[in-house]
Symmetry: C2
Subunit: 356 residues, 2 copies
């Protein structure tokens, strides 16, 4: 069912995850530590980065010396084309050539997107890749996509995003039949402008014909935290703004509360007593638990943990990528899109990815 | 300088504010109480609503019996056209006919927008009205517009929104030279798609020629809470989603913290000790303090407090509307747009308000 249809890399039953160790805030050594943690839990890792900073690899981890980093490149698209020896390019090529089954990039969403699209390439029938981020909302995790792979989207792109996001939620995040919502400025189907209205109508029709997801209609910004949907679909511009607002607001409120607690002796005592339950809340909204953003729509799964993650977050990213490869998220998405008649008909060309 | 150019309603120096009392969650009596509070602080109010629920008006408040409400109408646009005796329609007409200088509508943004646009009408040279909301971010209040007057916007609309929002921030909210940012999915001027890129270029050029505001360029979602701008401009779709995400996230985090505090005896004790500083934080982020959303771009100022406000919020809305009328926010916006050459050239027609 997958576009490439190949077996597991290395001929084993355990998928191999290609990991770019460059770009992490805590350095490549932290990513290597994450790879070691993941290997302890059964993962097989092909680790690309500066070998001298990666230490002795434990069983399950193979190091490929690749010191060149484009994680902080100003123009990652150009860098991914030019720097053929960059660690992310080599890692993406390993996936494209079948030496690994999924890609994890420790830093630089732009570089991962560019290197992944150029080398692994879009899956057959897919218009656009999308970045999907599981948001750690207390009590109601929700996956938002696209959070910024491309600023503009057409109806047929958003429809495919719904299938991709649903497959991610089902296979990698464990939601049996995901409820998909379409982000809008009101719950009424007539709100939101032509793109949202037409996409909503098509999703409603397709959801009636597919087992892949349930369509709950238009959802508002507040529904990202209300539990009204498991997957929320929007264009990359709105998705990116939404994500940044959500992150910024959480941090601002938590900081204001901390400052309030530090403002007096009584407050300090109160903050101390609340440390336990607040710690539990912080753990619940910890973005490391989900492993990062998922790069969907390519011939293989990609995962982009945040550069500020610790080893635990990188380990999660590798384990989720392994799970997504083992369960064939790409093939399952493709099959659901094909069954729904939502694949692109003419063969996708590389040039098309640049169209507005 | 104003489009209508008339003097104060009633021939006095104190502007008269027309207030629709219908639609508030706590009932018309709460709005009447807010009007009384505002009158105590010097406001003159023309209060439209069910007289039997409004009580005896104090000095400064005149009651007009108008029991018909369209605040909860499913289609407020149609309702504002048909229900000529609706309180919001009568209040808007009082402003249009010069019996009052500004409009305050206690409930139903849709009804206020429709009744205001039909009766008060757009100011000369303005393409679109916009809803501007001062967001009560701790330490850094920021005014966001458009939060939902129209889902789609063109470049010239967004440019006018910048001038409108800057005038609001300067005149009504007291920011001497507002820093205006354009909401985008990255700080680089090349990000965000053609609309954002072209709007950014025009705002940069116009800001160099005007004293009305400083343009700080593209800002990200997180900058709504970072203090990077005093005014953030975007289309009504993105603005509405952004607003709902911000509100939903704040409420969810504060609720999660309260639940965490209530989860144990230690937590309860901690919550009690933190009551003072957390109360101060809650007051700082209290949306009632700014009076609500501002309806800009009409021939007179409109203010739409949230339906859940108490009398204090309604009083604030009336006092801000009075201030905006006294300082001639409409005329000052018009003058700045005219000086910048950003007014629409052909006369605005009512039909144009419906164009995509």
């Amino acid at each position: 069912m997958t576009a490439t249809g190949a077996g597991r890399a290395g001929g084993s039953d355990v998928p191999v995850v290609a990991v770019d160790a460059n770009g992490a805030d805590l350095g490549p050594g932290e990513v290597a530590a994450g790879a070691a943690l993941a290997a302890e839990r059964g993962a097989r890792v092909l680790l690309f980065g500066p070998a001298e900073q990666l230490g002795l690899p434990p069983p399950g981890v193979e190091v490929v010396d690749a010191p060149v980093s484009i994680a902080k490149a100003e123009d990652p698209v150009a860098a991914a084309r030019i720097a053929k020896d960059a660690s992310i390019v080599l890692a993406a090529k390993a996936v494209a050539e079948g030496r690994a089954d999924a890609l994890v990039c420790a830093g630089g969403t732009g570089a991962a997107l560019a290197a992944g699209t150029f080398n692994i390439k879009r899956d057959r029938g897919i218009y656009r890749p999308a970045l999907a981020l599981p948001l750690p909302v207390p009590g109601h995790p929700v996956t938002l996509l696209d959070v910024g792979a491309s600023a503009e989207a057409r109806r047929e792109h958003l429809v495919q995003f719904a299938f991709m996001g649903a497959a991610l939620a089902r296979i990698v995040l464990g939601v049996p039949r995901p409820r998909v919502g379409l982000l809008s400025n009101g719950e009424e189907a007539a709100r939101g402008g032509p793109l949202v209205v037409e996409t909503g109508a098509e999703l409603r029709a397709r959801a009636a014909e597919t087992e892949a997801f349930e369509f709950v209609g238009s959802v508002e910004g507040g529904d990202l935290v209300s539990g009204a949907a498991d997957v929320v679909v929007t264009d990359g511009f709105t998705g990116n703004v939404t994500l940044k607002v959500l992150e910024g607001t959480s941090q601002t409120i938590l900081r204001a509360i901390r400052d309030a607690a530090l403002s007096s002796l009584r407050g300090r005592a109160g903050g101390l007593l609340l440390k336990g339950p607040l710690g539990a809340l912080r753990a619940e909204i910890d973005p490391e638990a989900a492993g990062g953003a998922y790069l969907l729509g390519l011939r293989r799964l990609g995962v982009v943990p945040h550069g500020r993650f610790t080893r635990e977050g990188f380990a999660q990213a590798i384990l989720r990528a392994r799970l997504g490869a083992a369960e064939d998220i790409v093939g399952q998405t493709h099959a659901a899109l094909e069954a729904a008649g939502a694949l692109r008909r003419s063969p996708a060309s590389a040039a098309d990815a640049r169209l507005p």
